[in-house]
Subunit: 430 residues, 2 copies
């Protein structure tokens, strides 16, 4: 069966998946936990094969870490599922209850989205996380993971899928796509697939966004900024900047650009630059910034247009600005509406920054690296969205549900209200 036919079948099954009770969904998650433990040796063996093949083909050490699925990663995902089981039901929540008129009652109730396609990087733990989030939220999931961990993914998928089926989930609850060409097929499945969540490189996500009619949730770029205000506390600024840049450079929430207020640049920038240099960061900046940095560290002069760059590496762009307004304007123009932080002790300046910066996350005195579903206390995340429609920022269970309006009448007709015979009275129900 090809992807098109398979997702049509999933669409049909999606209403049965949506109708599973919280108990049934939690039971399925418990079955998944047990199955993963039972199949641990098969999973680890498959992962060792993937790791060996990746090493042989010259995959760099930093990426190898992501491919790995060992005892430690298994414990992490099991703890994650445990946490998920404990979370309240995201579906069936009554968001609005209103009597429109005598005997005519309106309820807005959360429900699953339906069929969700998730395309993710070569990280086996992501497959477990995503599929368990979909089970908890009553959604059917099409999963396409990175090819470097194809063997691990196959065993993990089979383990989870069989456990879910045995616990009562419908046949179409999950589907694994394994071939790269199946991605294009998936992109054409509007009508069956309700939402796509792509994760991966900027270019890849952009490709998905440009080649499908299915709504896409995610982010292409992660060009995060840190603005050092004239009222910044240097003792906080240095560790925050070093953390935001170096703690995990490959992450979308790592800082790429440092903006420094001219009033404090001569005092603070050399100290910051020295710390970045010590941490192994290559510094690039405007001519003006370079003049202040060069006494303590090398600084390559860069052009204005290059401030659009997402390095995802130990490199940072530096620019001086006149005031918070110029910093805000720079961020809104060159940023990616992901996460931006202001370092200042001044409440008003921070408020202005947080009000006017048009990003999913606006921070004061902390590292941009906090932009993450786990760190926000969501239990898990399916991805981070820089769009403004539906979910924004780190997306947990909430981003996987929509709602429907249920209206209960007793033969009510609109004609009676149009003619003035009856009037709505709009009473909120408890």
């Amino acid at each position: 069966m090809n992807i098109k036919e398979a997702t049509k079948k999933m669409k049909q099954d999606s209403s049965r998946m949506a109708a599973l009770s919280l108990e049934e969904r939690n039971r399925a998650l418990e079955a998944v936990t047990r199955a993963l433990q039972k199949n641990r040796e098969r999973i680890f063996a498959a992962n060792r094969e993937d790791m060996d093949a990746a090493k042989a083909s010259g995959v760099p050490e930093s990426v190898m870490k992501r491919l790995k699925f060992d005892e430690h990663k298994l414990e992490d995902v099991l703890a994650g599922i445990e946490g998920l089981i404990g979370l309240p039901d995201p579906i069936g929540k009554v968001q609005l209850a209103r009597e429109l008129d005598e005997g005519l009652k309106l309820y807005r109730v959360s429900c699953p989205i339906g069929v969700i396609g998730i395309i993710f990087e070569a990280r086996p733990d992501a497959l477990v996380q995503i599929s368990s989030l979909c089970i908890k939220s009553g959604n059917c999931a099409v999963l396409k993971g990175g090819k470097e961990t194809a063997r691990t993914n196959r065993v993990l998928f089979e383990t989870i899928y069989q456990a879910a089926l045995q616990a009562g989930a419908p046949e179409g609850c999950m589907l694994q796509a394994e071939q790269h060409n199946e991605i294009d097929e998936l992109l054409s499945c509007h009508g069956s697939v309700d939402l796509l969540i792509p994760r991966g490189s900027n270019q890849f996500v952009q490709y998905i966004m440009n080649n499908t009619k299915i709504p896409v949730m995610g982010h292409a770029d992660g060009i995060c900024h840190i603005y050092v205000d004239q009222d910044a506390d240097l003792s906080k600024a240095v560790p925050v900047i070093v953390d935001a840049k170096t703690q995990y450079t490959a992450a979308c929430n790592a800082a790429e650009t440092l903006l420094v207020n001219r009033a404090c640049a001569a005092e603070m920038l050399p100290v910051i630059a020295a710390a970045l240099k010590d941490a192994g960061v290559k510094i690039r900046g405007t001519r003006e910034a370079a003049e202040l940095i060069r006494p303590v560290a090398e600084c390559e002069v860069m052009e204005e247009e290059e401030f659009h760059t997402e390095y995802l590496d130990m490199v940072i762009s530096v620019k001086l600005v006149e005031d918070v307004q110029e910093a805000i304007a720079h961020i809104n123009q060159y940023g990616s509406h992901h996460t931006d932080s202001i370092l200042t002790e001044n409440r008003e300046t921070a408020e202005l920054f947080m009000q006017l910066v048009d990003s999913a996350g606006v921070y004061q005195n902390c590292s941009t690296r906090f932009a993450d579903g786990f760190r926000y206390g969501f239990g898990a995340e399916v991805g981070i969205s820089t769009g403004k429609i539906h979910a924004r920022g780190p997306v947990g269970l909430e981003g996987l549900v929509t709602y429907k309006y249920r209206l209960f009448g007793q033969g009510h007709i609109v004609g009676d209200y149009a003619s003035g015979k009856k009037q709505f009275h709009f009473k909120e129900l408890q």
Copy 2:
């Protein structure tokens, strides 16, 4: 200035628009109210010109009603703005407040989407409604109305725009597009325009959805169903069906298809068909349905594929089904996920229908015509969405806002949590 440049400017101004206080936005709405009253004669005169031109060019009487903007319509929109002023602020709402760790506080706060493009049919009252919803929610609006009321729209737009400016809104708060070719220009403004809301014909909305990278909220089809269950109360069924079909046939929430349970069809269908005939409705149906209908009314036999038809006219499709499951399957396959109603006195059957029908509105014992922002008590609506992402069903103020995460730290870095030096404690704040 062309649309592309104008929307870039609006994007820049959108953060100032978002920063207006509730008081400032309400003051702007009050100014709009006064300006509309002051300019009433100019507005009516422009509308008379539009009406004369429309009449001369042979616009049908049913459409002429929509074009009209007279004393009565003015009173309606003024009452609408008055209601809007009284509504609570949709922006600045704290949706989540959580201490992640000592001194590290996360808030999720609602905020405007930014720049919204709205393309709507020739209905001058829609221009007033939409622009006032955008002012209340702090959004900048690009407005393109139907050409048949171009003169009325121009006077209304200038009146509202000047009033908003004088009340302190930024220059880029509103823009009127008047030429049809400007629609295509608007569709290419991703990066400046955050959301498009098209209203109008199925074909037109489909065109918009297929030709832009900007997220689109709205609906193309409105193929609404009524299912008459074997446990239906015929005395309720007849008026509900007649209302849903005939009360306003041009509306997207008018019923297009009637499904009848075989167990009660012989008893109920002839009565329903006779009532539809009396109301002037042309009936089409499957061969099986036609046999039951023909003793009381004409019935054209139709093919299965024709159940995809949205008539928007005094015509209805009729089919018999074996049970509620077959009704649900038909609706999910042929419907448009808009609004569907079951007529039954059986709670369990209704629950099953409401659970499994994949539509924005699922009703029991009432007319599909209730699917409307005003009737839901939202004060006003910008449109009805059949998508599942962001807003679904009738969309009021809530659909015009998103949120951002504000995180306040005191020099917090992720490194401390990754190393285990610190732990998150996730305390909900009041």
